[in-house]
Amino acid sequence: MNEQRPLTVPPKLEAARAGGLEADLKPRMEAQGLTVYYGKKVGVGNVSMPIYANRVTALIGPSGCGKTTFLRALNRMHDLTPVARVEGKALLDGQDIYAPGVDPVDVRRRIGMVFQKPNPFPTLTIYDNVIAGLKLLGVRRKNVLDEAVERSLQQAALWDEVKDRLRAPGMSLSGGQQQRLCIARALAVQPEVLLMDEPTSALDPISTQSIEDLMSELKKHVTVVIVTHNMQQAARVSDFTGYFLTGELVEFGPTSQVFTMPKDPRTEAYITGRFG
């Protein structure tokens, strides 16, 4: 699954390299002219940007700017909304996930997702929540499942808090723990990319901090894309930032550059707090 297919270097990557970035940068995904329609309305239009492997990419912008719409296009979640339609390409390891014959179920197995509100399965235990995805893949061997539970909970920084009560209901955890349980559940199937849709917006500051601390660990195992309405969060956790406004990608670049020397005056107006 992890084999690298040959890929043309996107213009933005060339620009990034010219800007003196690390040479080991490889795009895991790439959006090429991705447009999402809701009926006749454009939710987000003509977005092209790379998503670099083992980096955290933040998508920021004011409410309704299309950042979540774009994120959900990256693992074909819009397939579930009858009125939504996607045009353009989203490459995963060089292969278009919207190409004919690609099964959206396979796409979502390789590109996991964490949602705005923690949504563990309420009738399942902590253990069973983590292995839910593996069970779908037909994994039944107990030692494999046990290992996956420990590894995923370790990676989600939840293991120490729950290792003595893996058989307790997932709903018995606090909100922040539930969200980390959902991260562990997504990690258990070893996705290549993890999409996070405002994962801390329903959490208190301390839980938020624990999820943010997790990010730098997570990117060792997986490529992360995080949508956030919190600019400070994007600055803290991400390596690359895309700024969206009214359904359009205004600027994309290394986080340090976007926040200190934005190229577009609209980005500057937003990050300096003039609106949004």
């Binding site: 579930l80 979502r108 197995r109 996991g112 949602f115 399965f121 009738t123 779908l136 959902c182 199937v189």
Partner: protein, 322 residues
Amino acid sequence: MEPVQTRSIHVSQSPLYRALGDRLFVGAILVLCLLVIGIVLVMGWQLGSAGSEALAAFGFWGFLSGSTWDPVQNIYGAWPFILGTLLTSLGALALAFFPALAVAIFAVEYAPRWLGSALSYALELLASLPSVIYGLWGLFVLVPAVRAVQESVYFWAADYAPFLLPLLGNPIGIGMTSAVLVLAVMIIPFAATLAKDSIALVPAAQREAAYGLGATKWEVIRLAILPYARGGILAGVILALTRALGETMAVVMVIGNSNKLPFTLFGPATTIPSAVINEFGEAQGLQLSSLLALGFILFLISGALNLLAAWIVKRMSVEGRL
């Protein structure tokens, strides 16, 4: 804040309204609530006391377990009616459960919107049809068909498995099989409608959690939707069961009304409501009291089932834990 403004806000409310309005409303609601609870309790008490003559004559357990119901000798036992009621209701529920669940899943998850609402209307229509219509359909359409099937099964058994014959009973169409089938058709809309509503209430976040893990549609239903909706589905099942227990007209028309034990699969049987509807006209004295005691027993069974339903729904539903 200017005090003048504060005063002007209260001008429209008279002191009497402010003192009485809320209390009158609460009082009215309280009276109506107590009235409903009171009616239930009084009805149960009156049924019990009207049936107490029979319960005293045969003893509570004696009446419950007695299998003779003979107005000529004035001996009354409720067991055949209790057994018939439970067998037909549980049989109907067993037949209706999976079709009802399938209809609910299809209507919410698979059917295009227009077909889903068409199904909803059809279910509501079926639920509101008078039961005498089901009885007519059962007697003139279902019973002949059932008889044809029963005959071929019976003749096959006579040739190859004669030991089954006492279990099967006479293939006359009218009897237990037809009653169970009619009841099953009658309760599917109840179970299906409630299951459908609780499936539709499963939050999108739960579905997306499963889709996000790479679940197929059927896996989403199994992993996220059915576990979340199980409380409402079970509530519908128990509502359907209480409905089946009390069903009178449709059952009495097709069940054959025989209280002779043992019941057979094909042969005639009876239920508590059938006994009441068949005998209340001529009954007096101990027989009337026995019919009222039968009613009291059905009242208790239904009440116990409703309590059980409330308990199961509380234990099984996930809403309270979120």
